[in-house]
């Protein structure tokens, strides 16, 4: 502030510097892109430097501790918010009457087409409140079929966990308590991990199947429970997908390289794989094959090694031949 007057007088004495850039360059500078005017590169670097000096990346350990605290705050508030209106709705017959009045007003106000539009609404839409009000006085079908339909819409919007919870609510009101609990567990499992496309397809398939069922008997409930269990399993499985993938990849790669690489590389893959297979497989085969893969290495290596008189396979092939031969002698 104390510099405002100072800058101002400078501005007047130095007019070419008051508007030295176009709006495009100003936007580029402010959003961190290089300006088109090369004389502004110094300012561009200065801004980048200001940003990197001010922004300090958060400490990872502290961030995860704090994240747990934030999560519990959010969960507590969420639970309170979810409970408050529901308790009110149950306790007060007044609310039902208000809902009925709203519903009548809604029907007379925007007619059958409007009611149909409300019927199409999914949770989170403006019309959803109207939809539920109409259902509560029996004007629209508020049964499981309708909830499943709404859940499909949530799913289209990417809210897998929300879709599962909504379906769970509907099933519970139909008396399928076990199936409802299963779906809620699935929703929790889905909510606790981030990759969603496979799960979404799975949930979508389940909702479609539910929508196509006419009867809602015990068999129906059991089928839903089973699918919910599968979704829960997959959601939890996905979380560890990376870990397993690494483990398996290492395990198999070694196994195959030692056992098969000798046989296959020599026999089938003369043209392409010799370079690699010989280079790599030799390294491993010599070290490991001795210990682990004696049986296979001897058989395949020797048999095939004779066949490829292919000129492409010279490099290290003799060595692979040598190794299994040596191992033959050992036992």
């Amino acid at each position: 502030m104390r510099n405002k007057s100072g800058n101002h007088s400078d501005d007047i004495s130095d007019m070419d510097k008051t508007r030295p850039f176009s709006d495009r360059d100003a936007d580029a500078l402010l959003s961190g892109r290089a300006p088109s005017d090369p004389s502004l590169m110094g300012l561009h670097r200065a801004l980048a430097s200001i940003k990197s000096s001010l922004v300090v990346e958060p400490n990872v350990e502290r961030a995860s501790v704090f994240a747990v605290q934030l999560a519990s705050v959010a969960a507590t508030v969420q639970a309170d918010a979810a409970l408050a209106p529901r308790r009110g709705a149950v306790a007060s017959p007044w609310r039902r009457r208000v809902a009925a009045v709203i519903a009548v007003a809604a029907i007379s106000g925007f007619g059958v087409a409007g009611a149909a539009a409300a019927d199409e609404a999914a949770p989170g839409d403006l019309m959803y409140g109207v939809d539920q009000a109409l259902e509560s006085v029996g004007i629209l079908d508020g049964g499981t079929g309708e909830r499943v339909h709404e859940a499909q819409k949530l799913l289209d919007g990417g809210d897998v966990a929300g879709a599962l919870e909504l379906t769970g609510d509907a099933l519970e009101s139909d008396g399928h308590v076990e199936a409802a609990t299963g779906l809620r567990n699935a929703a929790l499992a889905v909510a606790s991990q981030s990759s969603g496309d496979d799960l979404r397809a799975q949930v979508s398939a389940m909702l479609e199947w539910m929508a196509g069922q006419d009867s809602r008997d015990a068999e129906f409930g059991a089928a839903v429970s089973e699918r919910a269990r599968q979704i829960t399993g997959n959601a939890n499985g996905n979380e560890n997908a990376d870990g397993h993938a690494n483990g398996d990849a290492n395990g198999n790669a070694n196994g195959n390289a030692n056992g098969d690489a000798n046989g296959d590389a020599n026999g089938d893959a003369n043209g392409d794989a010799n370079g690699n297979a010989n280079g790599d497989a030799n390294g491993d085969a010599i070290g490991d094959a001795n210990g682990d893969a004696n049986g296979d290495a001897i058989g395949d290596g020797n048999d095939n090694a004779v066949i490829p008189a292919d000129p492409g396979s010279q490099g290290g092939v003799p060595e692979t031949r040598g190794t299994p031969d040596e191992t033959v002698g050992k036992p």
């Binding site: 400078d10 008051t18 850039f21 300012l43 605290q69 934030l70």
Partner: protein, 184 residues
Amino acid sequence: MTLKGYFEPTLAAARTGAAWAWESIYHDLAGPVGGYLRGHSAPDVEDLVSETFLSVAKDVHRFRGDEGDFRSWVFTIAHRRMQDAWRSRGRQVPVVDSDLADVRAEREWLGNVEHEAMTSMSLIEVHALIDHLTADQREVLLLRVVADLSVADAAKIMNTTEGAVRALQNRALSALRKDFTRDA
């Protein structure tokens, strides 16, 4: 803006209280929020960042919008928390070229050697540049550069028009350029 396609599911999970979601939100935004507050020479930056995120967690179930809206909302909260902090302790903006400078040097410069080594400009140099701006110019600069917000979002937070924000950012850049070339 780094969560992109993952933002919706992350936000949904954050609402239900998933710690991983909060970790990625915090990781994405804590740096810029701290930078914004630091640029304003706000008191107790770390505390204010924590307060900001606690407010976000408390009100996230009421938030509606996309990732850009969310970012803008978080900075609105940070802005208010900072104003509250100043109000509660009486506004005292530290001045670089007074005797406070060596106190700041001890706290911010020597106290964060690792970070300083990574950046080409010390916090003192940064403040020497941006403290010359008017309060409004500095606000626009920090919201646009450090917080990565659009002109429209900055206008909303500053409670002014987009035209005014554009005028302010042009003046801020002009002033900075002049100071920068003179210092260099």
